[in-house]
Amino acid sequence: MYAYDEIDRTLVNERVAEFRDQVKRRLSGELSEDEFKMLRLQNGVYLQLHAYMYRIAIPYGTLSSEQLRRLAHVARRYDRGYGHFTTRQNIQFNWIKLAELPDAMADLAEVGIQSMQTSGNNMRNVTSDQWAGVAPGEIEDPRIWAELLRQFTTLHPEFSFLPRKFKIAITASEHDRAAIKIHDIGLRLLKNEQGQTGFEVLVGGGLGRSPFIAKTIKPFVHGHDILSYVEAILRVYNQYGRRDNIYKARIKILVHELGIEKFAAEVEEEWQQIRDGVLKLDDGIIEDIRSRFFYPAYETLPHMPDELKQAAHDAKFEAWRKNSVSAHKVQGYAIVTVSLKPVGKPPGDATADQMDALADIADKYSFGEIRVGHEQNLALPHVRKRDLPAVWKALEAIGLAIPNVNLVSDIIACPGLDYCSLANARSIPIAQEITRRFANHDTANLIGRLHVNISGCINACGHHHVGHIGILGVEKNNEEFYQITIGGRADEGAELGTLIGPAVPYAEVADVVEDIVEAYLALRARPEELFVDTVKRLGVEPFRERVYATR
């Protein structure tokens, strides 16, 4: 956890006061909707199909139990009793009244939560690995750097009106859980041959209408120089990014049009002029930020406690443990992933009561800390292994002991037509139907790791391009159709999926997914060969055949 101090608190409170004034001016008519739109977007407020939608940042996915309780309070007091965790370490509320928004904001500010720059054409919430600080083998806690970047990007005087939105993600592990290759800037923490800490910097990734995997712009930037390097990239983008066409305004298009070498040369030239200036970090500053992160006082615990051995006799517990519990860097502890994907429910939704209960569970068993990942699931990052059976029971009591993490029903989906004014097709009901089809845990387990991602339109909020199976809603003659891609992935080996054939109507999507899965089960070389690896080995053709032979 990063503890806000007086400076952080002052800034957030000043922001709330500013927004209160802006809402007042909008309600009195002093501000036009066009002018207000830009201001509300900078504060995470969208106007959606039914109401205002409010998006709140959870920087690098770390929440305290107190903060989670406050989110529950906002859900209950200002919304309809639930919130929606997204793929960008944000939470969204769908039914907030404009006049009440400043109060909701002020309530959140009290516990150090804010919504600055959660939309609009500025630098967005900096995301990171939800296992940061606890993942075995990571270079160091990437949140130190994410926090430095959070501060750098917040209300930046030069980059608050960029050509388009701008997203930075950072990982410190070999296994990339932050999907850095589909971000505008991806940062991979590493140590160079001299043992210095720094970053591989990638640029120009993103999904949406024109998807791109980010390219490496510089293999090593020293940690001391990271802010100036990021500033150099942004400065080049702000000056030369396209503003004539919003579909071509993202940095990925600039990088693509210039070519990575030319773009890199521009950035280098700019960087050389500023690298030794005011943005240079020194160890004192980095240590100061590090010192404001709270780390639990871990005990010395056995690797395999008796409680866990006993619980292993319970098949239901074991099924959950196998896919929800991951190794922790400290012996005797574990990371628990809490799936927010119950059969038949919208992926990523949590009720206020569930949030409150989870906060209690975190207090009792996870040093009061909760994490949010881009898969729309939560995690308890520091659970004693001996407490796992108790945590499982407590989760079961609130309907969240769902044993499907990374399985076919652990679906990532955007809100689609049910909430989103840009949607072409529904996403949530498709997700619900697929979870029903694969509700049998044994079947799902047999299939193994398989990520299904669904977006209701080309904007790709559900990351469909990088789903092992990607489902994209399109509209044809006023009807919902879905394009299916396979073989995408969002991890360190990120790839875009390949279209398998013509779009299929709404009613057939779940059947198609079943067909693809059946084909995989028949084609895989060994039970351990993941779906994506089978696709990689064989290409899409055998899957295409299986799906379209009968259609």
């Binding site: 101090d5 400076i7 952080d8 002052t10 800034l11 000043e14 006061a17 500013e18 802006q22 002093e30 002018e35 830009m38 201001l39 054409n121 430095l148 501060q151 750098f152 990007t153 917040t154 209300l155 930046h156 005087p157 030069e158 980059f159 608050s160 009106f161 960029l162 802010l227 400065r235 702000n238 000056q239 503003r243 002029q273 005011v278 943005l279 970090l281 004192g284 500053i285 100061d288 930020i289």
Partner: protein, 172 residues
């Protein structure tokens, strides 16, 4: 449009001269970049009064640099409040090229951008709405802390914290 400078609404001493108009003998003038670059000597060497330029936001400020020391005003343009290229131009002019004359924000200038503009180096504002111009002093006091350093010399939160620590440990 009201002009705010030094925190006050003031009368604009500069007169805008179109590209084909004759130069007035006396008084401060404001010209387009085309006119300036067509004959910088005539404009900057003029004895009747100061000269300023409106520089478009899609042209490199590098082309302006050779003339900076003789310009009394550089006006940068916000064709819409969404187009933030002039923030970068302002910082480059102030921080990299050391321009010390008037740096004026023109176009769609609203009160909600004042803080960003001040921090980027602007010191004069052609404000779109009278009410915004009147609210200037109040609006720029909205923020008392800043996370990142910019050219306005304000200390960033990172450094502010270190200073606080030092003074604490020194028992001050």
């Amino acid at each position: 449009m009201p002009l705010v400078k030094g925190g006050h609404i003031i009368a604009d001493e500069f007169v805008r001269i179109t590209d084909d108009a004759e130069l007035p003998a006396q008084g401060a003038i404001l010209v387009s970049e085309t006119r300036l670059l067509a004959d910088p000597q005539a404009l900057l060497g003029r004895t009747g009064g100061k000269c300023g330029v409106i520089w478009p936001n899609n042209r490199d400020v590098d082309d302006l640099v050779p003339h900076l020391d003789r310009l009394a005003l550089v006006g940068l343009v916000f064709p819409s409040f969404r187009d933030g290229r002039a923030y970068t131009q302002a910082r480059l002019l102030r921080e990299r090229y050391g321009y010390r004359g008037e740096l004026r924000a023109t176009g769609q200038v609203l009160r909600d951008q004042f803080v960003f503009m001040l921090r980027a180096g602007f010191d004069a504002f052609e404000v779109k709405k009278q009410a915004d111009a009147e609210a200037f002093t109040e609006t720029v006091k909205r923020y008392s802390v800043f996370y990142q350093p910019a050219g306005d010399g304000r200390i960033s939160a990172l450094h502010q914290r270190l200073q606080l620590r030092h003074s604490e440990s020194a028992g001050l």
